[in-house]
């Protein structure tokens, strides 16, 4: 649309041009082959879960006390962790995208570490820092009588640790793509930095922020390794759905599959409702 707007032409010519334009951006045909393979790599295992599921026992398996407690805890902790990711990761992304200081490259690679570290190692690292004998843990215990491991707070910390890079990377990319032109214009028109941020920057990067938020929330929902090593496993306090799935599998495959499907459904709902309106809708 924008391509043709600035070139006044007869309607007929415009239409042919449009069609040719469409044909030009069409995908090369070979790309469908790896694309389909890629889709199947992801979709077929989930199909396997569906085929293996014991549908008759499903209602009973999903409404057990442990399942409901885990679902509730998962949603609550994932929501809390996502909010923390936005409040802390948003400014971090802004610093990374717009900061002028030295060492930003190093800083960025540190931010990406949770993507590389096995979550179990992340959990161990948290335990060494915030655990009973950790630097921060000892101070918290002596100063305030607070212990973090085995509490719901530990679950939120673990999820925030692993999910933060997803938000930061998405938002930093959006900030870089948006550039600083509009903010500069707003400033020359006399808008304060706060007003510019609220009325110009945020609307510009909103799609990136939303997709980062969805990714972070999804990562929180599926978090397992760091939680099990750092927070422990206790119904109602630290036992999130992935932990319950893991422990259920020890004795009851059908129960574990049912709970996994519950997790899949929750994830699909979140992505389906949040994603199209934000990332694909606004362009």
């Amino acid at each position: 649309m924008s391509v043709t707007d600035d070139v006044p032409q007869a309607p007929q010519a415009e239409r042919t041009r449009d069609r040719r334009h469409e044909r030009d951006v069409a995908l090369p045909r070979w790309m469908w082959v790896p694309a389909v393979v890629a889709f199947l790599v992801i979709a077929l295992p989930v199909l396997g879960l569906l085929l293996e599921a014991d549908w008759a026992r499903m209602p009973e398996l999903l409404t057990s006390e442990a399942a409901l407690a885990a679902l509730r805890l998962s949603l609550e902790t994932a929501a809390a962790s996502t909010v923390l990711c936005i409040l802390l990761g948003g400014p971090l992304a802004a610093v990374l995208a717009r900061g002028r200081m030295r060492g930003l490259r190093t800083l960025r690679s540190v931010v990406l570490l949770p993507l590389v570290l096995p979550p179990v190692v992340g959990g161990l690292a948290l335990l060494y820092l915030v655990g009973a004998r950790g630097l921060v843990g000892e101070a918290l215990n002596l100063g305030f009588g607070i212990t973090i491991p085995f509490t719901t707070a530990a679950v939120v910390i673990a999820q925030t640790f692993v999910a933060m890079p997803f938000l930061v990377v998405s938002l930093e990319g959006a900030l870089r793509t948006a550039g600083e032109r509009y903010e500069a214009v707003a400033a020359t028109l006399g808008a304060s930095p706060a007003l510019t941020f609220r009325r110009v920057t945020v609307p510009l990067v909103l799609p990136g922020l939303m997709s980062g938020t969805v990714l972070a929330f999804a990562r929180c929902l599926g978090e397992f390794g760091a939680t099990i090593t750092f927070a422990g496993n206790l119904q109602g306090t630290t036992q999130t759905l992935p932990l319950l799935v893991y422990i259920q599998r020890e004795t009851d495959d059908a129960g574990a599959i049912a709970l996994s499907l519950l997790l899949v459904v929750v994830a699909i709902l979140v992505i389906a409702f949040a994603r199209p309106r934000t990332t694909e809708g606004i362009r």
Partner: protein
């Protein structure tokens, strides 16, 4: 141009797949034992057997030139489901009768399993036992941070059995997914006490202190071993079991804290 790119992509994909497939079978058969026809014995063993089976592996490979023993350690139920799902294996050594039963129920052992060791729970405390824990009932103290295994795994099932037998109910800070995690929570100072196997305390070499309690005998854990049905190396598998149940194997297990074969 497009075709070449596609071919390159497919070739890359094929290489990748070939790499994935090949690594599981042939990688370990080479190496030092190139003289005779090299054979590989695959043993699936419960994680608590790591130290003892590694010692036996060294002995077995010395006694049987040309043989490589490949041991896959893991949670017993993980290993059992691997066998049920067709993983190639010669020997299965489980840390509970229940997990071995999931394999025998599907007729996937060559012969009836045999118990080669037993294990009992012990209380693991901080070194020096600063909280003065002396009995199972002491663990019910509300101020204590006690960590146990989840009831779905063998060490947790044993703990529940003891709770039922003694009438003492614990309120744990966490129900860990395996016994080594319980040990880790105690040795890292995050829990005051945990219930682990006596062999875990031995293996921890002083980073925790063991407290024996008589009620542990109410829940003795059996370690069954069996040759897997259609084992590629059935002869070697039986030889391995003979070693585990023989003098050297039993001595090694005893030194690690395991109870004797029944």
């Amino acid at each position: 141009m497009k075709v070449r790119a596609l071919l390159g992509l497919l070739a890359g994909l094929a290489l990748l797949l070939a790499g994935c497939g090949g690594s599981s079978g042939s990688a370990d058969t080479g190496g030092s034992s190139a003289a005779a026809a090299p054979r590989t014995l695959t043993v699936l063993a419960a994680a608590s057997l790591t130290e003892t089976f590694n010692a036996m592996k060294a002995r077995f490979e010395t006694d049987n030139p040309g043989v490589t023993v490949r041991i896959s350690y893991g949670g017993s139920s993980d290993l059992a489901s691997q066998i049920v799902n067709g993983a190639p294996a010669d020997v299965f050594a489980a840390a509970s009768d229940a997990t071995m039963k999931t394999v025998t129920d599907k007729n996937l052992t060559a012969a009836a399993p045999r118990i080669f060791a037993t294990n009992v729970l012990q209380i693991a405390t901080q070194p020096g036992n600063p909280e003065g824990i002396a009995s199972f009932a002491d663990l019910a103290e509300p101020d204590l941070k006690v960590v146990v295994c989840a009831p779905q795994v063998p060490c947790g099932a044993a703990e529940q059995k003891i709770e039922t037998a003694t009438g003492v109910t614990l309120t744990p800070a966490s129900q860990e997914t395996d016994v080594k995690s319980v040990l880790g929570k105690v040795s890292s100072g995050n829990a005051d006490a945990g219930l682990v196997y006596v062999t875990d305390v031995t293996a921890a070499k002083g980073s925790v202190q063991g407290v024996t309690f008589p009620e542990a005998q109410q829940a003795v854990t059996n370690y069954p071993i069996a040759v897997v049905k259609n084992a590629p190396q059935a002869g070697l598998a039986q030889k391995w079991i003979d070693m585990v149940t023989g003098e050297f194997g039993q001595k090694t297990l005893d030194a690690a804290g395991f109870g004797a074969e029944k």
